[in-house]
């Protein structure tokens, strides 16, 4: 089952204004940078983006923010993204802030046909407002619902023509769950290999979750906090 598309243009074909997207990555690590760049070029607007962060001011989802292409962010962390914080505080941007673990689990739930689950995270906080609270084992939990998206866009290290994916190190992060939760899932990979080249035992995301795959033309893989020690 060949899932290969020719290029990033074909990969993001069908992404329209006001759609909901999931985008893998944590900070700038493991983000689908080629697809994001193409969306910037394409100018699609009114997007609802589900992504742990929103990149930095001049890279990753930050580019879509600068361009006002995003109507709403569903994220866990704003962090050092000044434009994100500015648009949120000024009310230009709708923002749903979600605990990171709940965000990951809600994406997995969306892909796994689990419409809702209970978690202790966020009980007694703003996050719990309007949500059902129930005690289990004497501890209060809140009901969280599944998330899904019109398109999920993930980034992998290697992928084969059938859509099987392998991630590298901590660039895995949200990518596998989001791959599960997209109605259409696009995977951009650093290296595209023939079916059979990946060990079936070592595949992180089985191809069933991926509808389109392509090898990214170029990966900058920018580092957010370069911390080192001297030899």
């Amino acid at each position: 089952m060949n899932k290969v598309v020719n290029n990033v243009q074909d990969a993001v074909d069908g992404i329209k204004d006001n759609m909901t997207l999931m985008l893998g990555g944590f900070g700038l690590c493991g983000i689908p940078e080629n697809s994001i760049a193409e969306l910037v070029k394409k100018g699609t607007t009114g997007l609802i983006c589900i992504s742990n962060n929103a990149g930095v001011d001049d890279f990753g989802l930050g580019l879509l923010l600068q361009n006002k292409q995003i109507k709403k962010m569903i994220s866990s962390y704003v962090g050092e993204n000044d434009e994100f914080e500015r648009q949120m505080l000024s009310g230009e941007l709708e923002v749903d802030l979600i605990p990171q673990g709940s965000l990951a689990e809600r994406c997995r739930a969306g892909g796994a046909g689990i419409p809702a689950f209970y978690t202790p995270a966020g009980y007694g906080t703003e996050v719990a407002e309007g949500k059902e609270v129930r005690d289990f084992n004497g501890k209060p939990h809140i009901l969280e619902s599944a998330l899904s998206a019109d398109f999920a866009i993930v980034k992998a290290w290697k992928g084969d023509t059938e859509g099987n994916l392998v991630f590298k190190a901590t660039a895995r992060n949200f990518n596998p769950m989001m791959a599960m939760a997209g109605k259409i899932t696009i995977a951009e990979v650093e290296e595209l290999v023939p079916a059979g080249a990946l060990d079936p035992n070592e595949i992180h995301t089985p191809g069933i979750f991926v509808q389109r795959i392509f090898q990214g033309a170029r990966f900058e893989k920018r580092i957010e906090q370069r911390t080192t020690r001297s030899k």
Binding site: F26, G27, L28, C29, G30, N52, S75, S76, Y77, V78, G79, E85, M88, L89, V95, L97, P99, Q100, G101, S102, L103, A104, E105, C107, R108, T119, P120, A121, G122, Y123, G124, T125, E126, V127, W157, F167, K168, A169, T170, A171, R172, N173, F174, N175, P176, M177, H204, K221, R222, I223, E224, Q225, R226, T227, T228, R229, S230, K231
Partner: protein, 218 residues
């Protein structure tokens, strides 16, 4: 007077026990990894998906695909593993991590914590903090006793939006080690040269002082 950030990290490191998996938050908590007591082995989990974090890489060895939850480039130790975010928070929520150390803007005498938002002014986002504090049995907050304006961060009740309710068990500040239970901060240790009176005066929440309070040994 009182400890610097390194001192706080050193004191918290004394809380580590052999065989523990530990999650360290951004800031002071990260420094704790530098002071693991001799003879014990602990393993660091970072919620973005790594177990067995090592020190920062040597210059030139940085890998954009290998970072911690603070987005800093890191290395891994032998026996490390990588996993996705859902699995990472399964570890945290499922209480497989024995200790969580994180920073805070405010802590209340009932163990509430606030560290992610100042309405109208600043929103960092909660990241993994809400999952961590709601799940961990053993949470230590590392922070300065007062904020930059000199106002106590150990309060009767938090004024900022909460991160978690009744979850903090221990606080280590530049001035003291305090345990929270029964709706009060119990003073366990003083920083070297810091008096009980000073701690009392800088603690807005209920402070319980029982007998002689020893100085920390760092």
């Amino acid at each position: 007077m009182g400890l610097d950030k390194t001192g706080i990290a050193k004191r918290i490191a004394q809380e580590l026990r052999d065989g523990w998996y530990v999650n360290l938050g951004i800031g002071i908590p990260t420094l704790v990894a530098n002071y693991i007591p001799q003879g014990i082995e602990v393993e660091f989990q970072s919620e973005n998906g790594v177990l067995g974090m090592g020190p920062f890489p040597f210059e030139g060895d940085e890998d954009a695909d290998l970072i911690n939850a603070g987005k800093q480039t890191i290395t891994t130790m032998k026996g490390a593993s990588f996993f996705d975010s859902a699995t990472s928070f399964a570890m945290i929520r499922g209480q497989h991590v024995q200790l969580t150390v994180l920073g805070a803007m405010e802590v209340s005498e009932s163990g509430d914590i606030a560290n992610w938002k100042i309405p109208g002014k600043m929103v960092k986002g909660m990241g993994g903090a809400m999952d961590l504090v709601a799940s961990a049995d053993n949470i230590i907050v590392a922070m300065m006793h007062s904020n930059r304006a000199g106002v106590s961060k150990l309060l009767k009740s938090c004024s900022l939006p909460l991160t978690g309710v009744g979850c903090v068990k221990k606080v280590v500040t530049d001035l003291a080690v305090l345990e929270i239970n029964g709706g009060a901060f119990h003073l366990l240790e003083r920083a070297p040269g810091v008096s009980v009176e000073e701690i009392q005066s800088k603690t807005e929440g209920r402070l319980v002082v029982n007998g002689d309070v020893p100085e920390m040994s760092i």
